[in-house]
């Protein structure tokens, strides 16, 4: 009896599977198209390229003056903030967009201005953060927020190494997933884990200068 059921399910799945496969292909093309048009029209992407170029040129400067924040690190924080804001607004598409942007910034992170020990730590952080950014780029809201929590820890650890030129506020809400933290550029608490449902849940834990 159990076998019969399995066989029926299998046959159904097999035929549905055939249909799904053909759908899946066309879906893939769609998303490729979307990506292309994004690349060509998204000005932010281009600006970002410029940042990267100037970054390589400035690498030697960075090495001279370790108190200035590396421009890759600065861009990571900016991308992270765009992501956080999208989550505060409960805007899945914008969050996905910001996740992809963050992923590409992380991909071209230039760690050469740091000591070898810092580089090792940074590479570890970047590898982890990249995975979360990638998932945020293709997930539903709930899942985006789950990844954002782990990502936030990575970014905090990164800032501990790279420093920051702008003041950052580490904020904390005890409600979400037994307590979750994030970074913000404003002192006022706007919660990325709940959005409008519980916008101001949280307190400032730490001011990072």
């Amino acid at each position: 009896m159990k076998h019969l059921r399995t066989v029926t399910i299998l046959l159904a799945v097999a035929f549905v599977g055939l249909t799904v496969i053909s759908c899946k292909d066309s879906k893939k093309e769609d998303s490729n198209d979307a990506m292309h048009s994004n690349l060509s029209t998204n000005e932010a992407e281009m600006n970002h390229d410029e940042t990267m170029d100037s970054n390589t040129m400035n690498a030697s400067n960075d090495m001279m003056d370790s108190s200035t924040q590396n421009s890759s690190a600065k861009q990571v924080v900016l991308d992270y903030m765009a992501l956080k804001d999208a989550l505060v607004e409960t805007n899945k598409d914008e969050a996905a967009q910001a996740g992809k942007k963050l992923e590409s910034t992380l991909n071209s992170f230039n760690v050469s201005s740091y000591t070898s020990e810092q580089q090792k730590e940074l590479k570890d952080i970047i590898a982890d953060a990249k995975e979360h950014a990638e998932h945020i780029g293709k997930s539903e809201m709930d899942h985006q927020r789950e990844h954002f929590k782990i990502l936030s820890k990575d970014i905090m650890d990164m800032v501990a190494i790279t420093g920051t030129e702008t003041t950052l506020y580490q904020q904390f809400c005890p409600m979400y997933d037994k307590g979750s933290a994030w970074l913000s550029m404003e002192k006022e608490v706007n919660n990325p884990y709940y959005g409008s449902k519980m916008l101001h849940c949280g307190t400032v834990q730490k001011e990072i200068n």
Partner: protein
């Protein structure tokens, strides 16, 4: 009719087998040596897609099931390969453990399509709690 011919036709297409007899030293179960019942649950519910060794069911001889599974294995291993566990840094391990807990809690893993045909892979409520508790405790034990 066309569908039927196609269905018969694709039965002759073969897929790559994800099978290896070697259990690397970095394997999750080898390194962490969890209690037997948890070991069994992970092997039955997760290892088919998240390790280098898949226990192929008999219906994997049927296309397009074999293709679908092959696809899942490729993607699943890229996300998380339990065989390579100990090669991850402490940060990566903690991050993966957190994701594992989230995936099980949200009923996202094992994949729905797999649960449909592989009913022994379904985790009961108490089995979920067991695995989640274990993963959390493992995460807290990492520095």
């Amino acid at each position: 009719m066309v569908l039927f011919v196609a269905f018969v036709g694709i039965q002759f297409v073969s897929t790559k087998q994800n099978q290896s007899n070697v259990i690397p030293k970095t394997d999750f179960l080898l390194v962490n040596n969890p209690p037997k019942n948890i070991k069994k649950l992970l092997q039955v519910s997760c290892y088919d897609c998240h390790s280098n060794n898949t226990e192929y069911p008999w219906y994997n001889k049927i296309q397009p099931i074999a293709w679908i599974l092959e696809d899942h294995i490729k993607e699943g291993k890229a996300e998380l390969n339990f065989n390579e566990w100990d090669s991850f840094s402490s940060r990566r391990k903690k991050s993966k453990l957190k994701s594992i807990v989230n995936q099980i809690k949200d009923d996202d893993m094992p994949l729905l399509s797999y649960r449909l045909v592989h009913q022994d892979a379904i985790l009961s409520k108490s089995e979920k709690e067991l695995v989640i508790g274990y993963m959390k405790q493992l995460k807290d034990s990492l520095k």
